[in-house]
Subunit: 143 residues, 3 copies
């Protein structure tokens, strides 16, 4: 059910291994439990997709960053998690906090050398139609 | 008006022709009629865009799939259709069913050899501003 | 806070410099003021990301465009701006009008030689969780 989609400025591919970041965030999602200790997200339904944007424009375009000795090529990472309806507010906060902590940890070296922003937003989908087809879920329901 | 955006794990580009899948889904959209037999979507306003994600992490990362003899490189396809306001619930269901059927058909061979999930969700846009400019629509209004 | 994400058919990369379009739109956003003359968007929080779709299907697939002497390879540009809550309806309209005008201007040459559609939609985010981490904002708060 959940999809975490990451949109980011493509120069960050030179700074970090975004596939490893995806894996780290998926593992984080799989470890999150609700108030009763049950996992929030089903294994077979946990997906993280990351997209480098080949074209981007951030803030003033670089002048302020160059002025303080940076490259001026600012980074930006936007993480959007879409969850199904019916979770508690407490679960939303728990998931959000775990993901922003994991993101800051995964990108700590990049933050140390790049002027960069990260934004994480969680949406609760208001879809009017929802359909799934999967040969993945059965792998985990058997376990 | 409608935009169908497809986000998918990039290894599927080795498994299928995603441009053909886009065309198949656009044709499906163009054939859908409402309760009165009128096409739901205008020709010039029907668009399908598909994006392979170069970085992704799905489910457990592959262990369960390898355990049952698969590659462990799970696939995922997320289809999101954004429609304008004002359609009936029956139209939403008709569109959704036609698109999930068309997707399962188009990807049946990939499903046969890959552990993979497909999710289709339809959203009704709640935009606070909407503007269009097109040299496409006139091509079809003339017909 | 605002993110402008542009999804477009990839053949347009042969027709225009989409990085320059991003910059033009970011500059447009930075110049927009509200009813009191204050900038609507903070410098450090203004981001534009553009993604060419390698796979797409638009309208009838080309027949009508070829019939009138075009290439049949229709273009499409979808711009989605996500703004934070709490802005007035007047600000939404002002931002939307400025962005669609800037887009039409930036792409006027492409429109002159391509059958193409542009859609701009502004959404007000209804996120249930929102977190930020930035080394960008301080650059501009000091100024």
């Amino acid at each position: 059910m959940p999809h975490l989609v990451i949109l980011y400025t493509a120069q960050l591919d030179d700074e970090t291994d975004m596939s490893a970041v995806c894996r780290h965030l998926a593992d984080t999602m799989l470890e999150i439990t609700d108030e009763t200790g049950k996992p929030v997200f089903p294994i077979g339904g946990t997906r993280v997709l990351a997209y480098p944007a080949p074209h981007y424009a951030i803030a003033d375009g670089g002048a302020a960053g160059i002025h303080v000795g940076g490259s001026g090529d600012y980074g930006f990472v936007y993480l959007n998690l879409r969850m199904g309806k019916g979770r508690s507010e407490a679960v939303h906060q728990r998931v959000g906090q775990a993901l922003i902590d994991a993101t800051k940890h995964a990108l700590r070296d990049v933050f140390a050398r790049t002027h960069m922003g990260v934004t994480l937003q969680i949406d609760v989908g208001q879809e009017v139609f929802d359909a799934k087809h999967s040969t993945l879920h059965p792998l985990f329901n058997n376990h």
